[in-house]
């Protein structure tokens, strides 16, 4: 049989394949982690780089140790099987050996202890946080079973949740409708009892709708998706309103529990852009990468989906814990600026209160001071506060 048809089929197949690629503007999702074990990394910031480096170093230590230990072990298994009539080596120990195998691991462990401190400090100690001026500040509210995000919008400030009138009305409503369960925070006889911001949770109040109007509010609220610029430090005030949750970004090696009653000051930085803006609508995002589709453990040949980074809840938080994920979109800085403007203008323009209620009712002011305000020059008071 001549060779020609084969080559023809091959060429046709090749052209077809190229055609598919040409039609799909997306690229295959990057799979590169810094090691076989770790998932792809989308952050080139100091901390995740350091974590991956440490991981690899520990892996080297552990591999060498295993080879030595299992080597000796297997040698013993083979060489010292029982032989009739022979006696074992009679020894109770060896001081030199004992000292060596105490000192050597001790040295390695001390080295490890010191090697990981810088990353830990930059991750957790506010004084050691990155000092970039252009940090993006946002607020994260965890709730059973959703992640809610609030970005300050164009004016760079977080607006109050309720208009002044709404507050006054709500207090009145509470006084009339609850039996002393909820105290007025401005009442000096009941200090420390704070439920003012749980007000929107009162069903009747919530449903009346009119309390939500606050014209100068341009904060961007979203549940379940977070849009951040690449290469800017994202600094968040994270709270939980019910149980403990944990904010986990595997691709940035980032994890922090959201602890009720204890606001957390956190930061992370994403580096690899995953989305760009839709050319027509700057509030819409378009994926840069595609990834495989898996159904019931089987890869679906020929199918593709938009690739998007995921945020997970890593701390057991109840029956739907498993569904408490969120999506993370990373834009280039200029794209993000445009997106921010568009979203913020939209938020200020329309009365989006109905949508926002869900996020608002999470707000509780166990601690009115956002953590970074203790470290940085005071920000102007929010209207209505």
């Amino acid at each position: 049989m001549s060779r020609f048809p084969k080559v023809g089929v091959l060429a046709a197949w090749f052209l077809a394949a190229a055609g598919v690629v040409a039609q799909d503007p997306r690229l295959p999702a990057p799979k590169d982690g810094s090691s076989y074990w770790l998932p792809p990394r989308f952050s080139e910031a100091y901390v995740p780089l350091e974590i991956d480096g440490l991981w690899n170093n520990i892996m080297v230590v552990v591999t060498i140790t295993s080879i030595v230990v299992y080597g000796i072990f297997l040698w013993c298994m083979v060489a010292y099987r029982k032989k009739e009539g022979q006696k074992a080596l009679f020894t109770h120990g060896n001081h030199t050996l004992e000292i060596v195998w105490t000192i050597v691991p001790a040295g390695i462990l001390v080295w490890l202890a010191f090697a990981q401190m810088p990353a830990w400090r930059q991750m957790k100690v506010p004084q050691d946080f990155p000092t970039d001026k252009n940090q993006l500040r946002l607020e994260i509210f965890a709730q059973q079973f959703a992640w809610n995000f609030r970005l300050p919008g164009n004016d760079g400030k977080f607006e109050s949740f309720l208009s002044d009138k709404a507050r006054a009305d709500a207090k009145k409503w509470l006084k009339e409708n609850t039996e002393g369960g909820i105290d007025d925070p401005s009442d000096p006889s009941a200090p420390g009892r704070i439920f003012e911001d749980a007000i929107p949770t009162m069903p009747k109040l919530r449903d009346s709708g009119k309390y939500w109007d606050n014209a100068d509010d341009d904060d961007i609220l979203s549940a379940g998706s977070l849009v951040v610029p690449a290469n800017r430090v994202v600094r968040a005030d994270m709270r939980s309103v019910d149980v403990i949750h944990a904010f986990y970004i595997p691709s940035a090696r980032f994890k922090q529990d959201a602890v009720p009653g204890k606001p957390m000051d956190i930061h992370f930085t994403m580096s690899r852009v995953t989305h760009k803006l839709d050319e027509k609508d700057p509030t819409k995002l378009v994926a840069l990468y595609y990834d495989d589709v898996w159904v019931d453990g089987v890869k679906q040949e020929g199918q593709r989906r938009d690739f998007v980074l995921e945020i997970a809840c890593a701390e057991l938080c109840g029956g739907n814990h498993t569904k408490m994920g969120a999506k993370l979109f990373v834009l280039s800085e200029s794209d993000w600026d445009k997106w921010n403007q568009a979203m913020s203008a939209k938020a200020a323009g329309e009365n989006d209160r109905k949508n926002d209620q869900n996020v608002w009712r999470l707000w509780n002011n166990q601690d009115k001071v956002r953590p970074w305000e203790r470290m940085l020059p005071p920000v102007p008071k929010y209207p209505g506060e």
Partner: protein
């Protein structure tokens, strides 16, 4: 002066006082052993439920839901939470701790130190009869409205508080754990007193076998840490029952509605501190006795003295001491003060050291030995090899910044199973096989023993090693359906493989239990009181040992327990009781 309880006179025992309310440490030991084995089956089945769900999230509910009376086709999230919560609670509070510090401590310690019984036989029986209600209470939680505990074995508030987990199941969990703790404290008091006061003439501390040493130090750990857990459990109980708010801060919401009717002002992290102040020592409570057991078994079947007996003892002591100052390594991501985190990291690094020293000493014990691969020995050797993996994975967890990636993922689940199953459980198999002839006068069947060991060893690694991969890839623990996340969808295949291996692993345990029960009646009879040719005292008394343990006077001890292959005698063992010319107690 040594104290001896008066069991010299043999009086006739009724069925009730022999098998039910027995104050004989040997019978209590057996009671603990069989009860814990029963619980091992329960805990194992719960684990298979967990694995079933992770392997077949769409279909597992069809099989699991009818058992528990849950509605729907898929396992409900709350149901899944119950499965893993009760799996861990049963395994920890009702299997491992009672097996090591109930069964082995009771059966072996008085025999090994040459005591006629425990110092407080009544308290000893009470300890068992407190363990039984603990089981009943925990088990009953499955039958109440809202189901059993579902906050994980760690039961972190606020989730575990009644506002978020209503129903009596969680309260029963607290009371059950409290009761198990009480049983554990009673045992600990007994072991410490017995070991300090009732050793045979010549049995100095540094002539005690490793099992006794390990149980001694474990008992001290239990005595100091368990009451602290008790206080935490009580506080959460009063939160749930009487409406206090030790662990509930102000301003929280339930399904978006504010929590009312409580004082508030509680501290969420306080629970974690108190809980881990117990539960870190508890992980050592769950392994130190097994380390003692495998040391004894390995010396016996390698016919060699333990390499570095004193360093081994000091390592156990070091682990116990450091064990009290490392609890914060479970809280690296909890938001506690980062400088506190750093100190916990340093202390945790150091606790890996005695573990390393022990491993090297076990290797030293094998070196130059005359090794017989009996089924007891195979299990003991598996302890060592698997514990190495568990210890090394601990280093990843101890490195604070690395832990930020793997905390609360399957990596941790891998770590704990390599130490607790790969370690402790193999140690338990080794111990049962080793002391079985003394308990029942018959050997366990070697063929079945080896078959069980082989399947268990292979299946164990197939189930638990991949957990490290899943965890480092970012698969969280305690999620009912990980495949809700796109990035975890490709992991279903691996999970299914692990689940299948888990069923094999579970089935293999039937072999062990069958072997035990069958061998009790039909096993090969021992030809002597010292079938393994061991040195320690439990083998120098009739089989099974009589009431009062030693006929006639208590034996006198002339040397340490590990004089295997001593050049002083022709045989390759030299019992602690043999008096050679020139020996004095």
């Amino acid at each position: 002066m040594l104290l001896q309880s008066g069991h010299d006179t043999h009086h006739k025992q009724s069925f009730f006082s022999t098998y039910v309310w027995s104050e004989d440490h040997k019978m209590i030991g057996k009671q603990f052993m069989f009860t814990a084995l029963l619980m091992y089956a329960v805990g194992g089945l719960l684990a298979l439920g967990v694995r079933g769900q992770l392997g077949w999230p769409e279909t597992a509910g069809k099989f699991i839901n009818p058992i528990f009376g849950w509605s729907g086709d898929k396992v409900p999230g709350e149901g899944y939470n119950m499965l893993f919560t009760m799996h861990a609670s049963v395994m920890i509070f009702l299997v491992i701790i009672p097996m090591l510090n109930g069964a082995f401590a009771n059966y072996v310690v008085p025999l090994q130190i040459g005591a006629r019984d425990m110092a407080f036989p009544f308290l000893n029986a009470l300890s068992y009869w407190t363990y039984v209600p603990a089981i009943l209470i925990l088990a009953s939680s499955f039958f109440v409205e809202g189901g059993s505990g579902q906050g994980g074995w760690t039961s972190y508030p606020p989730l575990a508080e009644k506002q978020w987990t209503p129903g009596t199941g969680q309260t029963l969990w607290l009371i059950g754990a409290f009761t198990a703790g009480a049983s554990s404290i009673m045992g600990a008091v007994n072991y410490i007193t017995t070991i300090v006061k009732m050793r045979a003439p010549g049995m100095s501390f540094f002539r005690m076998p490793m099992t006794t040493w390990a149980i001694f130090i474990t008992a001290i750990l239990q005595l100091f840490s368990t009451p602290v857990l008790g206080s935490a459990l009580l506080m959460q109980t009063t939160d749930r029952v009487f409406g206090s708010s030790f662990f509930i801060p102000d301003g929280l919401a339930v399904s978006g509605n504010p929590v009312t009717g409580i004082a508030g002002g509680g501290q969420v992290l306080m629970w974690q501190h108190i809980f881990w102040f117990y539960s870190h020592p508890a992980v050592y409570i769950m392994i130190l006795p097994a380390m003692g057991i495998v040391s004894d078994v390995m010396a016996c079947f390698a016919r060699k003295p333990i390499f570095g007996y004193k360093p081994m003892v000091y390592s156990i002591g070091g682990i116990a001491g450091l064990g009290f100052v490392v609890w914060g390594h479970h809280m690296f991501s909890s938001g506690m003060n980062p400088f506190l985190g750093m100190t916990f990291m340093v202390s945790t690094m150091f606790i890996a050291l005695p573990s390393a020293v022990k491993t090297f000493n076990w290797l030293g014990t094998l070196w130059g030995g005359q090794i017989t691969f009996s089924s007891a020995m195979l299990n003991a050797l598996s302890f060592v090899t698997m514990f190495v993996i568990g210890g090394l994975s601990g280093i990843f967890c101890a490195a604070t910044s690395v832990d930020m990636h793997i905390h609360d993922t399957y990596f941790i689940v891998g770590h704990i199973h390599y130490v607790l199953f790969g370690g402790t459980t193999f140690g338990i198999f080794a111990g049962i096989t080793y002391w079985f002839p003394k308990m029942f006068g018959r050997y366990m069947n070697e063929g079945l023993g080896k078959l069980h060991w082989f399947i268990t060893f292979v299946a164990f690694n197939c189930v638990f090693f991949p957990m490290h991969i899943l965890g480092s890839q970012g698969m969280m623990r305690r999620v009912a359906d990980p495949y809700n996340y796109e990035y975890l969808k490709p992991m279903l295949g691996l999970n299914r493989f692990m689940s299948i291996s888990a069923f094999v692993l579970g089935a293999a345990q039937i072999i062990f239990v069958f072997n035990m029960l069958w061998s009790m009646k039909k096993g090969r009879k021992v030809e002597s009181d010292n079938p393994w040719k061991s040195n320690s005292l439990e083998w120098q008394t009739p089989t099974p040992p009589p009431h009062g343990n030693f006929p006639g006077p208590v034996p006198t001890v002339y040397r340490g327990p590990y004089e295997y292959s001593s050049p002083q005698v022709a045989e390759d063992y030299l019992p602690q009781t043999t008096k050679l010319p020139g020996d004095s107690a």
